[in-house]
């Protein structure tokens, strides 16, 4: 009796399994999955264009002294002008000093490197020569390496620094300024990993070998210089966006 019951229960289970199998189920139309809803068109954020302004010297280190003027004060004054003009045009600015503080060359390069800037300007002033002197690092250009040596980190950026120098030079010439281009070995500049230029402004004379007609602390001269540098940086921003367009 018990054996027949067991056989029966097995038969029922097999029958149920057969009936429930897909072969015995009615065919069903596949349910069309709704197409994914179109995402709302959010414009991609514009790449952050950052400029580092490095007012050279400061604090205990006055730099050059030109009578009653000190290089550290002249560079800070130009930095403040540039910062205002750039901020007014929506450009993010990072400065290495905002007051009469001592900042080491290593710290200046650290600030610039952490900012991930598209342009770094080291601002200087001098009594020798005339007009604006622009310098790019004298390191030989090299391919970028995963680990860059601190004192020669700029070597991977020299080519782009030269391109930035070209644009700034055009802007300064357009503003009617006397420009000299060169290469130099400057401790903070050589450690920066961004397109980096040292801008040194001197008294401006109308002609070569003439006494300077415009002095370093002339506010009009500084304003003209700042405007021209901003124009050059705007051209650099446009070029950068053209080279690396956003999706």
């Amino acid at each position: 009796m018990s054996v027949s019951l067991a056989i029966r229960s097995v038969r029922i289970q097999v029958l149920a399994a057969l009936l429930l199998s897909p072969a015995f189920l009615p065919a069903q139309r596949p349910v069309p999955t709704p197409p994914p809803a179109p995402k709302p068109a959010i414009p991609a954020p514009a790449p952050r264009f950052v400029v580092v302004l490095d007012a050279a010297h400061g604090g205990d280190e006055a730099g050059g002294k030109f009578g009653s003027l000190a290089e550290k004060d002249l560079t800070l004054a130009l930095e403040v002008r540039l910062r205002s003009l750039l901020a007014a045009r929506g450009i993010a600015v990072v400065t290495t000093r905002e007051s009469d503080a001592t900042v080491t060359p290593e710290r200046r390069a650290e600030i610039a490197n952490h900012a991930g800037a598209q342009a770094c300007l080291s601002l200087h002033a001098t009594q020798t020569g005339s007009g604006v002197h622009m310098f790019v690092s004298s390191l030989a250009p090299q391919d970028p390496a995963r680990i860059a040596a601190w004192k020669t980190a700029q070597s991977a950026w020299v080519t782009r620094s030269l391109a930035l120098e070209g644009l700034l030079n055009s802007a300064l010439l357009q503003a009617g300024m006397n420009v000299t281009l060169g290469r130099t070995a400057l401790p903070s500049l050589d450690s920066m990993i961004c397109p980096a230029i040292a801008v040194e402004f001197a008294p401006e004379s109308a002609q070569k070998d003439q006494k300077p007609a415009v002095q370093l602390d002339d506010p009009d001269y500084q304003a003209r210089l700042a405007e021209a540098l901003v124009a050059g940086l705007l051209a650099w921003r446009a070029e950068e966006r053209q080279q690396w367009p956003q999706p």
Binding site: T126, T128, H133, K151, N169
Partner: protein
């Protein structure tokens, strides 16, 4: 009692006289020893020339003279007596260059003159692993003066140098010149990137123009490494001299 006291006094007197004579004799002997020693010292420090001074023959030298007005380096030829020893020759030539800068109305005024060069040491050059700063001089805008164009271009010598990590040059090969400047020169040097760079470049170029084996230049100030010349130009680097040297017409 009295004769005994007299006896003691006499002995004391004689003893005093004996000591006095001995002291005087010792004084005389010491004086003579001092004189002997003084004569010996004088004999040892005799600075009188034992040989007639050699007059170096006059030779042509090329100086790369900086000009602040247009940031240029112009070769200038001079004839001056030059010693045969290469280190001394380099020192004399650089001294002449700095003498020009110390003159009133100089195109690149820097006080100090020849006394600013302590020594110049010449060593076998070492290829360093890593990029060296080239010393291409400051260049005017294209078309606005001499020294433009290629002079501002980066050096192609560095990648090749970087391949040979710390390889000492063979005998007769390239040399490293170590120029020891005085701290007075550095302290009095005009501050500014252009002024300092021109001084460094003119020293490097002048060395290479007159001693073609000198391909690298390093700087010391009072025998010690120094961060910058006067707040700007890096003095901790090894400079490649070849790029600052004038073209072939300056060194026939």
């Amino acid at each position: 009692m009295a004769p005994a006291m007299n006896m003691v006094r006499r002995v004391q007197t004689w003893l005093f006289i004996l000591l006095l004579v001995s002291s005087a004799a010792m004084g005389v002997v010491l004086w003579q020893l001092r004189e002997h020693a003084h004569k010996r010292l004088l004999a040892g420090q005799d600075t009188a020339p034992t040989q007639a001074p050699e007059i170096s023959p006059e030779e042509r030298a090329t100086l790369l003279v900086a000009n602040d007005a247009d940031s240029s380096l112009l070769p200038q030829e001079l004839t001056l007596p030059l010693p045969q020893d290469m280190g001394s020759r380099a020192r004399v030539i650089l001294g002449k260059l700095l003498d020009l800068y110390a003159l009133p109305g100089a195109t690149h005024p820097v006080p100090g003159g020849a006394a600013s060069i302590g020594q110049v040491f010449l060593l076998p050059a070492v290829s360093l692993n890593g990029p060296l700063p080239t010393v291409a001089p400051a260049a005017r805008n294209p078309g606005s003066g001499p020294g433009s164009g290629a002079r501002g271009a980066p050096s192609a010598a560095n990648p090749a140098a970087a391949k040979n990590a710390r390889t000492v040059a063979p005998e007769g090969g390239p040399q490293l010149a170590v120029v020891n400047l005085t701290s007075a020169f550095a302290a009095a040097h005009p501050s500014g990137i252009e002024a300092e760079t021109l001084t460094v470049l003119s020293i490097c170029g002048t060395l290479h123009a007159n001693l073609p084996r000198v391909t690298q230049v390093r700087f010391l100030v009072d025998g010690q490494p120094r961060a910058t010349l006067a707040g700007h130009a890096d003095l901790t680097r090894t400079y490649l001299a070849a790029d600052a040297a004038p073209s072939s017409e300056a060194h026939p």
